[in-house]
Every structure is written in C-alpha cells, then in structure tokens.
C-alpha cells in the first residue's frame, strides 16, 4: 500500500520530484550538500509553497487543513528548536499552556488504548483538538530507549547538549504518532551508541505503526543498515 506519493513536486530550488513510499518502508535520500534535500522534506511537510501534488494514503494534501497534514507527515529538522524553558513544556497541550493551565504530564492513564505506540490518548473529556495527555509507562520506556530518565521532562532546555536535543526532538515528534517520518540527518550530532539507540527507536516505531520513513543520511554504513530503498539526489548544474 502506498503511503506517501509526491508527484511533479517542485520545491523553491529543484524538482519536479515524483516517487512513492510504501507503508512501513524506509527510503533514504542522499546527495551532495546544497542539492535540495532539506527543501524537499520541507515541501513534503507543506512548510514551503510547492507546485505539484502529494498524497497521503490517497488523500491530497490540500484537501485537509495544513496542521492536520503536518501531524501525520512529521518533519524532524536537522537542528532542533525549543521555545519553552523546560523540556516537558514542549510536550504539553499548547493551547492550555497559553492559558497557563498546567496539564500534569503524568495524568490520565488510559489502559484501553494500549495498542497505540506511545499510548498518547486524546483526553476523552476534552473536545480540544490538540489535547495530549502523556501516559507514563510507554513514555518512560521510549525515553529510556533514547537514553533518558523520566526526570528529563523537568530539565531546563539550556542544559541540553546538541545530541540530547536531537534525541528529544525525535521523541517529541513521535508523540504525534505521524504516519510518515521525514528525518533530516537525525543522527548527525550523536555518538555511536546513541546512533544505535535512535535507529532502534525509529525501526521499532516503524514496525509498530507501519509508518513510512524518508531519511536523509550521508553515512554509507547507516544507509546500508536502515534503507529499504536508496534515492540519490543530484544538485542543479
């Protein structure tokens, strides 16, 4: 089953790109720096204006609101960005954060939705679209696999190293349970043991949810490890 299918997609810099990614497939993109890999990922996430069509499970991107598209087609930028002081605040419902209501991060354990990967249940009593309650058990296990204790949620962002930020940004993205992961060099700032951890978490997520992955990487060994298919991009003349 085809999960993601860009057709005639023109980014600001290059294209047209046409390819398709199967459900559960991992496609690695590589090519010289500056050849437009990042712009392609941004266009797939609908963050830049781009001509052409993109379909997710057969649904065209323009037939759904952009925020809904981006929740399902999740982009992990090469350099992670953080806006609040405390790590955990980035995982809380932004709307309630804006009203200064603290949503307890450990609240709302919902045993019935255990089939979901991270057990991120929509609060049943809350109609709000984005409301997220994070259940402790699976969060702790995913955080643990990425090399963190649960106390990381209380850490201050300024304390984090680049590599820690990169791993936590992946965690933050997975909380949305996207159907497609667009990963822009997700292990660039990591040491060997952490590269393994990240690759394992991504593989596990892919197996559990059938998510398709588009992975930008330069490392031949990594490409050999993770790629089902390898697409090479060439720079414009």
């Amino acid at each position: 089953m085809i999960r993601l299918k860009p057709e005639g997609l023109r980014t600001i810099y290059g294209g047209p790109f046409s390819f398709s990614v199967e459900r559960g497939e991992c496609v690695v993109l590589s090519g010289p720096s500056g050849c437009g890999k990042t712009l392609l990922l941004r266009a797939l996430a609908d963050l830049d204006p781009a001509e052409g069509t993109i379909q997710l499970d057969g649904t065209e991107r323009n037939t759904m609101p952009a925020p809904q598209w981006r929740k399902q087609v999740g982009w992990l930028p090469a350099e992670s960005a953080w806006w609040a002081d405390v790590v955990g605040d980035h995982f809380r419902d932004q709307k309630s954060e804006a009203r200064d209501q603290k949503v307890p991060i450990s609240g709302n354990v919902d045993a019935t939705s255990s089939s979901r990967f991270l057990n991120v249940g929509k609060k049943p009593d809350q109609k709000k679209r984005d409301a997220q309650a994070i259940t402790p058990a699976k969060v702790a296990s995913t955080l643990g696999k990425l090399g963190f204790g649960e106390d990381v949620l209380e850490w201050r962002v300024e304390r984090l190293s680049t590599g820690e930020k990169q791993r936590l940004a992946l965690f933050r993205l997975l909380l949305n349970e996207p159907k497609v992961l667009l990963l822009d060099e997700p292990t660039a700032a990591l040491d060997v043991s952490n590269v393994w951890k990240v690759e394992e978490v991504i593989a596990e997520y892919r197996n559990a949810t059938g998510a398709a992955v588009v992975w930008v990487s330069h490392n031949p060994e990594q490409i050999a490890r993770v790629a089902d298919r390898h697409l090479q991009l060439w720079g414009a003349e």
């Binding site: 609101p65 952009a66 925020p67 929740k71 930028p77 350099e79 992670s80 953080w82 806006w83 949305n176």
Partner: protein, 265 residues
C-alpha cells in the same frame, strides 16, 4: 492672550544654545548623532512654525472640510512614521496599510467619540478641540504601534526555527506565534501604562502643563489630562491589538506556512 508671558525669538535662541552645546559634545565623543540632533531640531522649528500658521487659519475658518483634510494629513504622516520606524516592515502596501488602518480605527474612532460624547464642543468638530486631541492620540498610538510591530517582526525573524518546528508538530499559525504576539502587544502598551503610573507623581504631562502655563485652573487642567490619558490608553491599546493581529496573520499564508518573504529584509 490672557496672562501668559510671551516668548521672544531671543528667548528661544537661548534654549537652542542648549541643543547646540549637546551636539558639540556628541561630536567630540564621536557618538555619530550630533548631526541628526541638529537636523531634527531644525525640523522642529520649521514644522512647528508652519503648523502655528496653519492652525491659526484653521481656527479662523472652522470649516469641516479643512478639519477633515488636516486630520487626513496627520493620519498619513503617522502611518508613514510607523513604517519608517520598523527595521523589517511588511512588503508592499501592507507595511503602510496595517499601521494606517489600525490608527484609523483606534485614534479616529476614539477622537470622534471623545469629541461628540465626552467634551461636546459646538460644533463637535471644532478645530480648537479636535486637532490637538487627534494629534495627541495619533502621536501616542503611533509610538505604541511602531514598538509592538517592531517587536513582532524582529522576534518572528529570530525565532523562525522555533515557529516552524511548532508548525511542523501540527500547531496552527495562531498557536505557533501566540507567545510572540502576546509579548508584542505588551511592548506596545508599556509606555502608556508607565505614563499613567508616573502622572502627577513624577511627571506633569505636557497638556496639563500647557494649560496651567496658559492660566487655567489646575483642577480643570487635571480633568482634561485624565481624560486624555484614558483616551490614549484606549486608542493605543486597541490600535496595537489590531495592528499586531493583522501583521501576524499576514506573516503566514492559508496553509499556515511562515512567509518571511512577505517581510522586507
């Protein structure tokens, strides 16, 4: 001219010596602002002298057409000033239009309301009341607007990565920019909040000082000053809100993409 001591050109040139001395010191310290200081001091003299004559003629004619024309010129000038004070204004007509329309809905509406309902001169557009009132409203709203819009555009530029990450995580444009928008409105409102806090304790506001110098009773002058501060607070606040909302929507397109290309860099 009841009771006020007339100032001669000689009196004014004594005061001008102060500005010239300051310019010389600035030059000596290589602050690079001495020339600007002198040029704008000269502008003050020319602009205010001219407006003195214009107002004299305007008060004498009291025709609504001339009052409206004067108001329009003031509004356009303020709109230009809001745009000029921003480092990265919106491109095209928006940089000018946002400030202009925000000031129009706030300052104009507040001024008309104050004239027609609160002060009630006869006729309501009597230039002796309308023009100074509008001038003070526009001047203050203009300050609030340019502060808040500058804060907005600068922070959107420097926080581009964070805003786009929030969008990528599925937040709407309003959610992704909410905290910057909030801070921008606060920035625009701080000056008027500060003036209300300091009024009477630290500062005697200009209008009140003028009335007292002109021989009016301090109690009457105080009432006018309170009215004016409230009007300014309302005008600045609503104008700032409108301008920040319009600009922040213009910075995104209908697919909730951040469009920094709509801002001059």
């Amino acid at each position: 001219m009841n009771g006020i001591i007339q100032l001669s050109p000689f009196d004014l040139s004594l005061a001008a010596l102060l500005v010239i001395a300051l310019a010389l010191v600035c030059r000596r310290l290589r602050l690079g602002i001495g020339g600007k200081l002198l040029w704008n001091a000269t502008r003050t003299v020319i602009q205010l002298s001219l407006i003195g004559f214009v107002l004299k003629a305007l008060f004498a004619s009291s025709s609504p057409v001339w009052v409206a024309l004067m108001a329009l010129v003031m509004l356009l000038g303020a709109g230009r000033e809001v745009r000029a004070r921003q480092k990265n204004p919106l491109r095209g007509g928006w940089g000018f239009g946002v400030g202009l329309s925000a000031m129009f809905v706030s300052s104009f509406v507040v001024a008309v309301l104050a004239l027609a309902v609160v002060v009630g001169p006869e006729p309501w557009y009597a230039p002796r009341y309308a023009i100074p009132l509008l001038g003070m409203l526009l001047g203050n709203t203009m300050n609030g607007l340019s502060l808040s819009l500058n804060h907005l555009t600068q922070n959107v530029r420097s926080n581009r990565a964070a805003i786009e990450t929030r969008l990528a995580l599925g937040q709407t444009k309003s959610e992704a920019i909410a905290d910057i928008r909030r801070e921008s409105v606060r920035t625009g409102l701080i000056p008027i909040i500060n003036s209300m806090a300091a009024a009477g304790l630290v500062s005697l506001p200009g209008m009140m000082t003028g009335q007292i110098l002109a021989g009016n009773s301090p109690v009457d002058a105080v009432r006018y000053q309170i009215l004016l501060l409230f009007l300014i607070a309302g005008g600045t606040g609503f104008g700032t809100l409108a301008a920040v909302w319009m600009s922040s929507h213009r910075l995104f397109d209908d697919r909730h993409r951040l469009r920094l290309d709509r801002m001059r860099s």
